[in-house]
């Protein structure tokens, strides 16, 4: 296993959390807005924030397909609400693998988006086929319609994407790896050796008992459960980080079980 990956045994016990600053952060790190063609019209910043708070989330990452253009509006909408928003993107790589690219700030995401846009094919979105792609402000007001087709692969390999996101200070997480399409295991069969990732994301319906039988490789990885929300009701507060503050450095420590930081997941009952 590569030095940047960590074998996962069991979630470290919260009892070793002797740092009194550590608190519980229920988190959903995979949320779409109306900029994703497949998301419902209700996925606007103020409604996402209020729904997130009502289900008990303290941390959320906004991850539209191949774009981060609504991230700043989401950050603004959540300001002083008790919800922290990480700007992000759900990249579709050359291999059609979906990769969450999470950042602490908007500006590295903007740099990443610029690179991704350069590597997207020059195709226009067809709203009748895919749905509309709306850039909105913090109140949910329409600003403009994104014309480029975002529901497509950027010509970036998974490896290059992971390296570049890391270089920008971001956290790359392969998305919904239990799904039969657009996922690391379905498309590439196995985690490429040396890939600098520290966790994998599984979809909200994943159950370890069955999932580990279908894909035994999943046992070796910290697994984050997200809502992959395209509707408000998809938001989930099932992954809880025990961290000092809602930043990527703390999350990374929690994924590795370092210095009392850890995380746990409430898996769905059958």
């Amino acid at each position: 296993m590569a030095p940047d990956t960590v074998p996962f045994v069991n979630p470290p016990s919260p009892s070793n959390a002797d740092d009194p600053r550590i608190g519980s952060f229920p988190a959903d790190l995979h949320v779409h807005t109306v900029l994703s063609a497949c998301a419902e019209v209700e996925m606007i910043p103020p409604l996402i924030v209020s729904q997130a708070l009502s289900v008990g989330l303290r941390l959320l990452a906004v991850t539209d397909h191949n774009t981060g253009e609504n991230a700043a509006a989401m950050v603004e909408a959540a300001r002083n609400t008790g919800l922290h928003v990480l700007p992000g993107m759900e990249l579709q790589t050359r291999e059609e693998v979906h990769l969450l690219c999470l950042f602490d700030e908007v500006f590295p995401l903007e740099a990443w988006q610029e690179e991704v846009f350069r590597r997207l094919p020059p195709l226009a979105n067809r709203e009748d086929l895919f749905g509309p792609q709306w850039v909105v402000d913090a109140t949910g007001e329409w600003i403009r319609t994104e014309e480029r087709l975002l529901a497509v692969s950027a010509d970036i390999s998974l490896e290059e994407a992971v390296v570049r996101v890391r270089r920008l200070g971001g956290l790359p997480v392969p998305a919904h790896v239990d799904r039969p399409s657009f996922s690391l295991f379905a498309n590439l069969g196995l985690v490429p050796p040396g890939l600098a990732i520290s966790a994998l994301e599984v979809s909200r319906n994943f159950r370890p008992a069955e999932g580990f039988i279908r894909r035994p490789q999943l046992r070796n990885w910290p697994l984050l459960a997200s809502g992959d929300a395209h509707r408000l009701e998809d938001l989930r507060a099932v992954t809880r980080f025990r961290i000092v503050s809602p930043c990527l450095r703390e999350i990374e420590m929690a994924l590795r079980g370092q210095e009392g930081r850890c995380f746990e997941v409430d898996w769905p009952a059958r």
Binding site: E95, S157, L158, A186, N187, L188
Partner: protein, 115 residues
């Protein structure tokens, strides 16, 4: 059994791994771009047609002892992928044409699937 050399000549394929011998026979063909499907479906000594050029292509081909991988649509694997293939003894071939063309031409050479 048809050999890789005969296939390369018939389809005018580019050989990406010149260091490897081409006398190996091909029993049947398999086509898919989802490596999870290939792992479950391709058989030893098959030729695999795909547009994927990722390092894991070599891993899967090696795991299953495939004869060769035909990478389509003009995709070119990174040099590390080619080096790994040569090391693992997996012949990598390339064509500018697509999967459909490759499979239909292989079929024309009498190469069938192996259920």
């Amino acid at each position: 059994m048809i050999t890789l050399k005969e296939i390369i000549e018939a389809l005018n394929l580019e050989l990406l791994t010149p260091g490897l011998g081409l006398n190996r026979g091909v029993t049947a063909g398999y086509a898919s771009d989802l490596l999870s499907c290939v792992m479950a479906g391709a058989k030893k000594d098959n030729i695999w047609v795909t547009l994927q050029s990722h390092m894991n292509v070599v891993a899967v081909a090696s795991l299953l002892s495939l004869s060769a991988v035909l990478i389509t649509e003009g995709k070119r694997p990174d040099p590390e992928v080619v080096a790994k293939a040569e090391q693992e003894g997996i012949v990598l071939l390339a064509t500018e044409r697509n999967n459909y063309y490759a499979v239909s031409r292989l079929s024309g050479l009498g190469i069938q699937d192996e259920p």
